[in-house]
Structure formats: C-alpha cells, structure tokens
Amino acid sequence: MREPIVRIARRLEPSPEMVFLVSVGSVIFAFLVSGFLFSFLGIFPTEAYRVFLNGAFGSFYALSETIKRMIPLALIGAGLSVSFQASVWNIGAEGQMLIGAIVGAWVALFSHLPSPLLLPAMFILGFLGGAFWGVFAAWCRNKLAINEIITTLMLNYVAANLVLYLILGPWKGKTVRGFAYTDPFPKEAWLATLGATRIPLATLLLAIIAVFVCYLILTKTTLGFELRVVGRGEKAARLAGINIGRVVSFVMFLSGGLAGIAGVGEVSGIHHMLRHPAHISLGYGFTGVIVAWIARANPLGVLASSFLFGALMSGGDALKVSFGIPFQVIYILNGLVLLFLIASDQLLYYRIIFRHGHQDTREEDYGGVVD
C-alpha cells in the first residue's frame, strides 16, 4: 500500500566477486573525489592521475618503489590479520617496528658478532624485540585487564621517543656532525638488493613467507582455530576450555615480531642506520592496520592490499616531487581511499530497492520484529 521510493534491505552474505568489485570501485571513487583536491591545489586532475599512476606502476623503477614499500606493509599486515582474527586490536605495529629497528641497529653497530652471524642475529633479535613490545601489551591485558588498544597505541610513542633519545644521545654517530642519526652500519649488516632496484631481497622473501605462514596458522592449525574462536565468541571459547590469555599473548607475539622484522628490514635494507622514527617508518605501522583491515584479516588478501597501499605511497611520492605539493596531501588521498572502502563495507551488506510507481508516502520505522 504505502512503500517509500527508495528502500534499503539487508543482505545476508556478499559474494567474493562482489566484495572485490565494490573494493575496486571505492578506490576509483576515492580518486575521482580527490580530483577536487588537486583542482583546489591548481593541478589538473587528469594530470595528477597520470603522474600518480606513472609513479606507482609506470616504469620498472616505479614498480620497484611500490614493492619496496609493500614489503613492510605485508609483514605488518600479515601479523595484524592474525591478531584481528582473534579480536585483539594491536594498533602498536608502529612501535613494535621501531623496537625491531633499534634492536637491529644495536646488533649491527655494537654487538661485534662475526659477519656471517650479523644479519641472522639482527632479524632474530629484531623479531624478539618487536614481539616483546607486543607481549607486554598482552600481559597488561591478561593480568591487569588494560585494553590493548590503549597500551599498544601508547607504546608507539614510547618506542618513537626511545629512538629519538638514542640517535640524539648515546648512539649519535661520531661521523655525522650535527645530524641526528647513528653511524652507518658496517657493510656486512646491509641487505642485498634485488638487481638494480632498491628492494631488499631477504625481506621480500620473508614477507611472502610470513603471509603464507600466517594463512596456514589461521586455517589449518588447532592454534589458528582457537584464535578464531576467541575472536568471534569469547563466551564460547571459555566454555570450550580455550586459554584466552595464551591466545592473546601468542597473537601479540607474532604480530609484534613481524613488525619488528619490518623494522630491521627498513634499517638494514634501506637506511643502513638508525635515524628519525618518521624516516624509518613513513607510518607503516598505522597503514598496516588498514592493510589488514581491508584484506578482511585474511593474510592472502594482505598481498593485494599491501600492494595497493605501497602503490599509494610511491604514487604519492611522485605527486609530491612533480608538483611540489606537501606530502600531507597524500595522507588525504589515503584517508579518502580508506573512507570509501570502509563505507563500501557497510554497503555490501545492504541493497537499495527502488519502488515502482509514484505514490509519495513515507514509512516510519519502529524497528518491529518479524514474527
């Protein structure tokens, strides 16, 4: 009798194709909207898109820059996927990464290990450093009932300030004069790069391995089953006799450790020194949260989403250089992409139904129950 013109109905389960198409659509949409931003800055939007695409994929070099940025995102995103599957909201990958970088730098500069052991030690101890930073937050949650979102977030600042203290104080390089960074690492602590690119081969492999190991843990092991149960129903997990504290500690250990590896990779593969936190990370830890989230906490999906965000970063770099615009514009672009992806996620579960006919009526919703 009286039906509104446009109505929204809930749908049960969006198909995978649908998820993919809508995600791609929302990225495109974000770019279209960012066109206004470029116009506002006096840049013709299509010109901006061209520069962006060229900077991200347009040449061998551009692609390699994208992959270089994808590596830490994939490492962090894979770990966070596992953590998010357990509904443990680790947003401290940034700090865990910096701790990994600090530990790696210590091994490189001060451990005096024989050179064949140097790189393996940097990675193993870097992993443990990041893992420790994560497990501390898990301990706070398990023993003191402090929400891990708060502790992991705050520990980011602790880690960043620790880096600053070290590079301005005790570890300040003897050869760098007024600059705030350490001496360069010995050559034995540098990662080999892939051909003529700036992609560290070791971390590329580690990232790919991490993605697949995380996927295996989640889908094939009893531990992965436990953590998915904890993530979706703590009550049921308790009745099943699952040790929730142990699961929380494990996911913080793994996600923190992988972030730590990302940190070692940045200092030993790219910078070859410990330097300002904003240079080591470029916000990888925070972007990693988005990467895992957009992949719906599926480690395999992280391969795609980390590539997308790697491209956003390197394309954004090209924009910055070509037009002399502030790098912050790129954050706005990232923000738009995220905004549209999040909004589309909600839309996936609804569909819009247009009424046929012309009656102009409205329906009040009392939230009545269908019975």
Binding site: M1, E13, R238, A240, D371
Partner: protein, 514 residues
Amino acid sequence: MEKEIIIFRGITKRFPPDILANDRVSFAVEKGTIHVVLGENGAGKTTLMNILYGIHQPDEGSILLRGREVRITSPRVAIELGIGMVHQHFRLIPNHRVWENVILGFPRAPRFFPAARAREMVRNLSQEYGLDVDPDAYVWQLSAGEQQRVEILKTLLRKAEILILDEPTSVLTPSDAEKLFSVLQKMKEEGRTCLFITHKFSEVREVGDRITILRKGRVVETVAKGEADFESLATMMVGEKVSLFLEKPLVTPGEPLLQVEDLWVLDDRGFPRVQGVSLTLREGEIVGVAGVVGNGQRELAEALAGLRTPLRGRVFLKGNDLTGSSPRNVREAGLGYVPEDRRMSLIGDLTVEENLILRDYQEPLFRRGTFLDWKRVREYAENVITAYRIVPPLPRLPVRLLSGGNRQRVALAQALVSRPQVLVVANPTVGLDILATGFIHRLLLSLQEEGVGILLISGDLDEILTLSDRILVLYRGTIVGERERPKSGWTEEDRREIGMMMGGVTEEHLVVGK
C-alpha cells in the same frame, strides 16, 4: 451494537527481500471475547498485531474497526481508537517507578506534581482488576508477572477496549498465568475484547472463545472453543500430522552419576544466586529442575559446567570431586553442557563443522599433530548432519544462517561429540517450533535409554513434565520441592503443586492448604 469489533480483510505484509509475513489474512474478532491467535514462531502473529497497533502498515488489505474502515498510521492513532498492546518484551523504564511508567506519555496526566493523582489512579485501577502492584515500586524491582500487570494498567488507564497480548505467558509462573487469565475474564465480562497471541496450544484450553490458527502468514482456520482438540490444533499449526505423544522409555535408574552437595554459587553481581542446592542424578534418569527464569538456574548450570567456581559445596561425578574444575576438565570427566544462551555454545560466524568441533578440536580424531584434519572433520560433520537431519545439509554454512531448531541440533550434537555420561541442558527448546521441539525431546529420551543421566533445567513446565522422571523445583536458589514420576505418569495435581512451588509456595504450605 456491532458484534464483530475487528475485521481483518486481506491483510498482506512483505518484509523485503523475500519474507511474506502476512498473506491475505482475513478473520473477524467478536466484541467481548478472548480471541486467540495461534501459530508457530514466524507464522506472522506479531506482524499482524503490529499492524493493528499501527507499528507496521499493511501492503494490501484493510482493517475494519467497529464496522468502519480505519487507517492506523501509528500507535498513537491505535491508542485513540481504543487499542492497547502488551508487547512480549515489556516497554517499561526500569529506573522509574510504577506510577511514572503508567503515566508516561499519557495525555491527561496532571501537568504539575502528578505523583499523588497518578498513584491514586494506579491504586484504583489495580484494586478494580485485582492487578496487584505497588505504585511506588521501581520497575526493576518487579517480577516479570508484576511488570506485565503494569503494562496492562497502562492500557486500562488509556481506556483500551481492545487489548492485544503478545505471548503474555512466556515469562510467567503458572500461578501468575492463572491470575492473568482471571483478569482477562473480568475484562471480557465488562465487554472488552482481548487478542491473545500464543504458540502454546495448551493455553488455548485456559482462555480463548475463538481461535485463529496462522501458518506461514496465512489463516488456516478460525474455530470456536471446543471445536478442535490438541492434536488437530497442532496439525493445523504445523501443516502436517504431528504426534504429540512421546513414548517415555522404561528405564530403571542405575548408579548415581552426578552428586551435588550444598552448592552455593554467586551471580555476576556477587549475590549468592544458588543457595545450598543438593541433588543426585543417576544413570538413565532425567531429572527436571523446574523454576521461573532468574531463580538460579543459570548459575547452577554454569557451576556444574565449570564456568563458575562455587562459593561452597561439592560436585561429584562418578565419585570424582569436580568442584571448581575447568570447563575442559569437567567435559573430559564426562559431563556435557548445553547452555540456554546459544552464543555460549555456538559461534554464528563459524561454519557448522567448525561449531561441531568447537569443544573437542583437540581430540585425536580431528587432528594430526598441530594441524586440524579438515577432511575428517568434514566427514564427521556430514554424519552428524544426516543423523540430526540438519537443514540445509551444508557443513560449511555459517551457523547464523540456520534456523533456531537447526542451530539447537548443532548445539546438542556439539555437546555429544565427547559422548558424555551426564548431560546438563538448559531450556533446550526455547523458541523452537513443534517439530523441532519434538525432535529434541525424542533425542533426549533416546540418550536416556542409552544410560545417559540428564539434568533438564527448564522454565517450561510442560517440557519438564513430558521428560522428567523426577522433578526438583528451584525457587530463589533453593530446592523447594521434589516429586517422583508416578507409574501412571504425572497427574493434574502434580502439575498444580509444582506450578505453585515455582511461584514460591513451599511444600509445608501446600500441605496446610489441602
């Protein structure tokens, strides 16, 4: 005066995408009668009543009230037309007093200092109808039965001539239900009309001058009282011949399996909700724990399952002290638990097969070392799906997409994976339709035949009487009465006495009352 006060004419209501809640519903309600609308969950009863109360608008069809076609565009319009509704889930504000709730939104409430006047109105109406309730009590202090009385008072104050009651007895003790029926009788004698929504056909004999049976949104029939017996009402509700008769196997209880001694358990607020419960459950025996929700059932069950550490007392399973053991130890010792809250047993986002192994994923059957053996899990799940006739038969379907009855089958199957000797089940058929209920009941009886001891904790007295060999009545955390099933089955007298004990009347008082 019109004889037919309400006429539904071809009411159709769709809920997109594909739910047809009401399909050309037509029937008439006579003035001064109690008209029962009977149907299973999802039959469209509540939707139809929400349409009459102006919450929903029909897609097609019309309503005639006192012979005139009306458009009830909102509950306010409904109230002005003399229609009142008591929802299944009460619409009261717990932190407000009774009189405040009653005059909330009442247009003729005094504008300043309304308390005295409102109290008086509430008091007068309560006395007139025997709706006992203290106007100054806070709603949160009231029992479900008392809250319902407040809701009825609200409608009476607004001079409702037509009262809609949606599943009014689902939260009541049997004696509160009796009280409600007598109030309805009084209202009927005054010429008011009641629409009484229920899925329990056993209630039809208590109230109801005429009965309209709904199934899948359609009217099956409207019959007068006495024209249809239980079996035919059930058949009309379900759409196929159903046997309400359950054959209770003759099992002689064996050795004691579960022994509980003087158990005290705290609830979430730290109040001792179970106060000194002792009981024994033997092999092949079903012991029913009857009681109205909130009398310590949940805390008792959770203490047995290892989810709550008792304050005092002991729990023994086959002589082993299980007091304070973890849920896993309790399960490994042979006690299975099917909680009422299905979020505790099932996880909606996980698949049927994942839910089945939720508690026993570490069994050697389901894993190879640290890896789960999904192939064998799948095989196991497929067997369960066949044995329990779970529809649709898809092991990889998320459980949240199953119907309530199928979900409960999964929950029971999950608790039985470890082949427990003692099963604690809480309200296993709440919200299930007749067929699903029958299936669950038959399953419990067949477990009994296999020698499993079952502790059936339920607020549904019919269910308790159908299944139990022995009944304990739990009231405010203590066992206030016990009855053994007579050889010839439970009598009306047993039912009446158990019902009274559920409302807090103790054994001694029952004796005195005789």
